[in-house]
């Protein structure tokens, strides 16, 4: 699973960015760690991958990665989605570091839209790719206003939005990028992870770094910091539930992707975290599956 170290790409600095740029990003990261949940502006650069593809996460990873690191990159929970493959190749080429698909083996995990199911440990760093770092953006479009609201800790408007959801729909109508309060102070966008993953952020032993390249912001949740999803006493925060288990590994505790299997409404639910699913199957867990799916798996 782990690909060994290689020689980095000739003609470019280690991890693409020059050392001055990496230092300026690390300074922003240090500030972000010191003020959990606060969005630190930084001099984001154009990267060879487009904005929206994870340039913020890539710049954060590039500035912290060292020759000894073992990198895992996931998109939608999976290591083998095209964008995850592309970013992993980028770092394999520009740094030559070892890469892995195993959550347990990685020292740095760059992710888009998921937190791995396997609990992270001390010493690990998870780097989130963030499209819109501002949790208040859908309530207030102007950066000049939202900065003031953060400064004054004026978050009532977000509670009003959640309340209006309950009044209109009977529940809070936000399934991903669900707003959290960090360390009892800053309202923070957890990036578009499903709210299923929100509880994993709370008092996590790993360092959590967030990079938004296009919006030029970095923020962080240091290890063991409180991360609370907003809710009401009578409408406590809740995560998604499925009536199914993973069809491949039988997991009842993981986030499931719904796979359309035919044009007659056939569905199959499988773990979105491919490493978690694979580990479970290796350990002998079997889902209800379908014979066809199992045969296809066996053939691989």
């Amino acid at each position: 699973m782990t690909n060994a170290m290689r020689e980095p790409l000739a003609g470019y600095n280690f991890a693409y960015l020059d050392e001055q740029m990496k230092r300026s990003i690390r300074r922003a990261i240090l500030k972000a760690v010191a003020v959990p949940g606060y969005q630190v502006p930084f001099g984001s650069r154009e990267m060879p991958l487009p904005y929206g593809w994870g340039t913020g996460g890539i710049q954060v990873t590039a500035s912290i990665i060292g020759a000894e690191d073992v990198l895992k990159v996931i998109d939608q929970g999976a290591d083998d989605t095209t964008n995850a493959v592309s970013i992993r190749q980028f770092f394999a080429r520009t740094t030559g570091v070892a890469t892995t698909e195993r959550t347990a083996e990685a020292t740095i995990i760059q992710t888009r839209h998921r937190i791995p199911e396997r609990p992270l440990g001390p010493g690990q760093i998870i780097v989130y790719q963030v499209p819109i770092p501002e949790p208040l953006r859908w309530v207030e479009a102007r950066e000049t206003e939202t900065r003031k609201m953060h400064a004054l800790q004026e978050y009532g408007v977000m509670h009003v939005k959640l309340y209006e959801d309950i009044a209109r729909f009977g529940c809070i109508n936000t399934s991903y990028n669900y707003p959290v309060l960090v360390n009892g102070r800053y309202l923070m966008a957890p990036s578009p992870i499903p709210k299923f993953d929100n509880p994993k952020m709370d008092r996590n032993p790993a360092l959590q770094l967030f990079g938004a390249g296009r919006e030029k912001r970095i923020y962080a949740v240091p290890p063991f910091t409180s991360v609370k999803s907003l809710d009401f006493e009578d409408y406590p925060f809740d995560v998604q539930h499925w009536d199914h288990c993973c069809a491949l590994c039988g997991a009842a505790d993981s986030y499931l992707d719904e796979v359309v299997t035919d044009d007659r409404g056939g569905r199959m639910f499988v773990c979105s975290d491919t490493d978690y699913c694979g580990e479970r199957r290796t350990a002998g867990h079997v889902g209800a599956g379908t014979p066809v799916a199992l045969a296809a798996e066996a053939a691989e």
Binding site: M21, F42, N83, V85, G170, T261, S272
Partner: protein
């Protein structure tokens, strides 16, 4: 049957190979050379250099070729390369009054010192498809070069010299030139200074600025502009190396500069006068320079005591959305997989639907 989304690596490699094949097109047709792009697609090269924030005709031509003529993609290629370049020096401000003029027109004064120089322009061409260009090697009419000596070496800006009544505001350099903001090094902050605004607009998408400028002309923010002066030509770039302590020339660059003049009716603190907007581009990007100058002026609305009511007057709206590399990336990232979020939405919508049906059972039946 369920087939996991495997094989991303092979798929990506094949996509790159297919793209290379598309780029080359029919192999029976000779391959495009960078010299050809540079010489014969010069305006594309100019736009890519301007929005790419890098003056290098060879690299811009390469970017245009590599991007198959997609100019925003070419701008992106140039910007990504720019990230890896060290900063060796900061130039002295260029003096466009000493420009080696190839084109200079003013719409505000009929005649002026130095005269009007039409230069190479589409302005008075009849837009008739020239079928003779469909054939290569057709004879070209040689331009009659006027008396170059008639163009003075130093040609001060029209609006700086011809206004003896002080009706047009002067652009006065600050006595102690502070270090200009560089948006490629520090993030944009609001309120943005004029330096940050002009840099943002200079890098901004031509189409976006054109539409904004046009909207202000049509009444979404009243600008009443006149093209005070447009000039295009070569300007020397100088740096002061630390070990020398005096300025040396490191080369010439082509620039297009535009001064727009707009009427200003005055406010409680300011007397009525003509105000100015400024546009500048690498190469010959006249439409861009003009649009930029107009938008620079509309963005001064608040500074001049007005209320920003329209998009073209709204600094945060304009400056946050002008960059086409940012905009194109964020728009196109919608192609990336979002099935985790979509799954969350599926769960929510199913729940909402069940909830609605529970509340109003009669409505649930309408749904097929």
């Amino acid at each position: 049957m369920y087939v996991a989304v495997k094989g991303g690596e092979t798929a990506i490699r094949n996509a790159h190979a297919l793209l290379a094949e598309e780029r080359r097109g029919d192999p029976a047709v000779p391959e495009l050379t960078l010299e050809q792009v540079k010489e014969q697609m010069a305006l594309a090269v100019d736009r890519v250099m301007t929005e790419g924030s890098l003056y290098d005709r060879d690299l811009a031509a390469l970017a245009v070729k590599q991007a198959c003529g997609d100019l925003i993609e070419a701008v992106f290629l140039l910007r990504a390369y720019r990230t890896t370049l060290p900063r060796l020096a900061v130039s002295e401000p260029v003096d466009t009054a000493t420009m080696d003029i190839r084109r200079r027109v003013s719409a505000t004064y009929k005649d002026l010192p130095g005269g009007q120089v039409l230069g190479p322009t589409f302005d008075y061409t009849h837009r008739l498809l020239d079928f003779s260009l469909a054939e290569t090697g057709h004879p070209q009419e040689k331009p009659a070069h006027g008396d170059a000596a008639a163009i003075p070496e130093r040609m001060p800006k029209v609006v700086d010299v011809l206004d003896h009544e002080g009706l047009i505001e002067r652009e006065i350099a600050p006595p102690e030139p502070a270090e200009a903001t560089d948006l490629t090094r520090v993030p944009l902050d609001f309120p943005a200074g004029r330096d940050a605004r002009l840099q943002n607009l200079a890098r901004g998408d031509e189409g976006f600025l054109l539409a904004l400028a046009y909207s202000s002309q049509r009444g979404f923010g009243s600008a009443h502009p006149f093209a005070g002066e447009i000039r295009m030509g070569e300007v020397a770039v100088e740096i002061v190396p630390e070990e020398l302590g005096f300025a040396i020339e490191i080369g010439d660059i082509t620039l297009t500069e535009c001064d727009m003049v707009s009427q200003f009716k005055g406010s409680a603190t300011e007397s009525p006068k003509f105000t100015r907007g400024y546009g500048l581009s690498f190469g010959h990007c006249e439409r861009k320079a003009m649009a930029m100058a107009l938008v620079d002026r509309t963005l001064r609305t608040r500074e001049l005591g007005g209320e920003a009511l329209y998009p073209a007057q709204d600094e945060e709206f304009v400056l946050s959305h002008s960059d086409n590399v940012e905009a194109s990336g964020f728009l196109q990232h919608l192609k990336l997989p979002h099935y985790v979020d979509f799954q969350g939405e599926l769960v929510t919508v199913r729940h909402l639907k069940a909830e609605a049906a529970r509340r109003r059972p009669e409505q649930a039946e309408i749904v097929p």
